[in-house]
């Protein structure tokens, strides 16, 4: 636990937001999901590395599996919802389990740093069954109407070599 805490109601509302967001993706309601993100969103899944603990080298420009903004997420959503995309039609069956939700206040009123974990179980085509697990750090912004917008998301998957058959999945 951090020292700073938020009201129980805020924690509850954030959790409901994350659950709902996961369900929209599981139900292939991509437009509804896109409506939950902020115009200035930065959506990232950095590559992981298997390095010695002593290693300090950083890359000024680094690589991400995802590094998207509002517009590029729109392109992804357009593609995911269209019939006929080879890797998404027939569509996979997915279930996202969201857990370990922690909410921290930030210096900006109405903005919260949110830690959570997500496990995606995906079954695709005839019999392909696979799991991807990740930790997430989000920035959620109150929309002034009891809800939130997703303004930043960092997804840290446990996989170094991506073993999932494709990353056609928003997390």
């Amino acid at each position: 636990m951090t020292d700073a805490t938020v009201a129980f109601e805020t924690w509850f509302a954030v959790q409901q937001f994350l659950f709902r967001e996961a369900r929209l993706l599981d139900e292939d309601r991509y437009d509804d999901w896109h409506a939950l993100i902020a115009q200035d969103i930065h959506y990232r899944m950095p590559v992981r590395r298997s390095r010695y603990k002593r290693e300090r080298r950083t890359h000024e420009i680094d690589t991400d599996h995802f590094n998207d903004d509002f517009g590029s997420l729109r392109l992804r959503v357009e593609r995911l919802k269209r019939p006929g995309v080879p890797s998404m039609d027939p569509p996979p069956r997915t279930c996202r389990i969201v857990s370990n939700v922690e909410v921290e206040p930030t210096a900006t009123p109405g903005e919260y740093r949110v830690h959570s974990t997500v496990q995606l179980t995906r079954n695709r085509l005839y019999d392909e069954d696979e799991i991807l697990t990740a930790r997430r750090v989000d920035l959620l912004r109150s929309d002034g109407d009891g809800g939130f917008r997703l303004a930043r998301r960092e997804i840290h998957t446990t996989q170094n070599v991506i073993r999932l058959r494709n990353l056609n999945c928003l997390l």
Binding site: V47, R49, S50, R51, D64, F66, S87, I162
Partner: protein, 448 residues
């Protein structure tokens, strides 16, 4: 198993599907292709400082690549000389020496065995350390790209590339300054034979229409720019070229690479401003490859789609391989465009790519369909453009055809057959050369 001459009939454009599935053939590939081809290890810019190292594979053998104190690049089998466990467990870093986690033998960055626990008493000071260093691998470079070869009898990297370097220059040396590899490595497992992943880039422009048509439509946002798959593009406007099994498929409009970029404008501006230097450096018509849509690669596993992906394919058994992908840009590209290229590569032909994921689906389904036995007995069709290739084009070296052609597939699989059938390098032919020292072409066509 069928005979090698039945498995690949390049002159008919036929390849038996058995070669994508058979474990015995896979084992033979490791011995006859991966144990004696020049395989990509690293680019100069991935190891900027003395002691920088990365670990990779040549075939399925683990390899350690290290920047030496004299600035050169050395490569070793990443295996402790003592008992053969993997020596360096990290994928990258900086180190002066490497200590085995099993018995503690320690090797310098130059591969020499420098320290052995209990050397004086348990070994009675009798261990000949000089002969128990790491197994060194032959390393040669082309334009900042380092390649390794396990076979001392292999020809030089320059001979292995042959006239294909004339094309490669347009990607790796378009103007003074060259290119750099940016950031880290995207890695993913593919459940398909390595050749399926290789042929997709080394020759297959044709698939873009069907496999990526929807994504092209979504990403081009109504812009009317050619991406390389349009009808009516004859040789000269477009091109496929194969030399020594390597493949090059390209347009010559100097701009098609950017057609489906998020915002093509700054890229076109950079390319247009650089064009005089491209022309001065590469000459006509070569300079017009830069900025054009290109897909190609080196036999067997180093592939590129400039602007989208650079990658190596590591074989992992007859029906699995691994893709390691990098972003490569011209060094003098503005920083903001470098950052945009990294983002864009991930989004298009990266692990989460709107194009890549459809490729993976198609490629994995090819291997999936080979679990049985009936399908393995049939031939796949690689006969598009068969009989329409030429060797004597005044502008382009190698065997060439228009871009939408199975020309480079046939070159790749003929090369596969040549390697698989040869017991030593002396039996593997090298294509005759037409390119002269200054990049000009000798008019006389020379081919066997």
């Amino acid at each position: 198993m069928d005979k090698l001459e039945d498995l690949v009939r390049a002159d008919e454009g036929l390849v038996r599907r058995e070669i994508f599935a058979d474990p015995a053939l896979y084992r033979q590939e490791l011995e006859r292709i991966f144990d004696r081809s020049w395989l990509f290890l690293a680019h100069d810019t991935q190891l900027p400082n003395v002691g920088d190292f990365l670990t990779t594979f040549m075939g399925e053998d683990p390899v350690l690549v290290i920047r030496q104190t004299d600035g050169s690049i050395a490569a070793f089998l990443n295996v402790c000389a003592h008992r053969g466990t993997v020596l360096c467990l990290a994928e990258e870093g900086n180190a002066r020496h490497f200590t085995c986690t099993y018995h503690g033998w320690t090797f310098g960055a130059d591969g020499q065995l420098v320290d052995v626990p209990r050397e004086a008493d348990a070994y009675y000071g009798e261990l000949d350390k000089a002969s128990w260093g790491l197994k060194a691998i032959r390393v040669e470079s082309y334009k900042g790209l380092y390649f390794g070869n396990f076979d001392p009898a292999a020809p030089s990297l320059a001979d292995f590339l042959g006239d294909f370097a004339w094309y490669l220059d347009a990607v790796f040396d378009p103007q003074p300054g060259g290119v750099e590899f940016l950031g880290g490595t995207m890695r993913m497992t593919l459940r398909c034979n390595w050749k399926i992943a290789a042929e997709n880039i080394i020759s297959d422009t044709y698939h873009v229409l069907a496999a990526h048509g929807l994504s092209v439509q979504i990403c081009s946002a109504g812009r009317d720019m050619q991406i390389g798959v349009e009808e009516g593009n004859d040789l000269g406007q477009t091109l496929s070229a194969t030399i020594n099994g390597h493949g090059w498929n390209a347009n010559l409009d100097g701009q098609g690479q950017y057609a489906i970029f998020y915002d093509p404008e700054p890229w076109l501006k950079f390319a247009n401003a650089s064009r005089p230097r491209y022309i001065e450096h590469l000459g006509e018509p070569r300079a017009w490859f830069v900025g054009s849509s290109i897909d190609g690669g080196l036999f067997p596993t180093f592939m590129f789609v400039p602007g989208f992906t650079f990658r190596i394919i590591h074989p992992k058994g007859p029906d699995e391989c691994e893709l390691w992908m990098w972003t490569v840009v011209e060094k003098n590209l503005p920083d903001e465009l470098k950052r945009e290229m990294v983002r864009f590569n991930a989004r298009m032909l990266g692990t989460s790519g709107m194009f890549e994921t459809d490729d993976c689906n198609n490629m994995e389904n090819m291997s999936k369909a080979l679990r049985g036995v009936a399908n393995r007995k049939f031939d796949s069709h690689y006969a598009m453009g068969l009989g329409h290739e030429r060797y004597d084009d005044p502008r382009f070296p190698g065997r060439v055809d228009q871009r939408i052609s199975d020309n480079c597939f046939r070159g790749f699989y003929l090369r596969w057959q040549e390697f698989m059938g040869a017991s030593s390098w002396s039996q593997i032919p090298l294509a005759p050369r037409r390119v002269t020292g200054d990049g000009a072409l000798m008019q006389e066509a020379r081919h066997d």
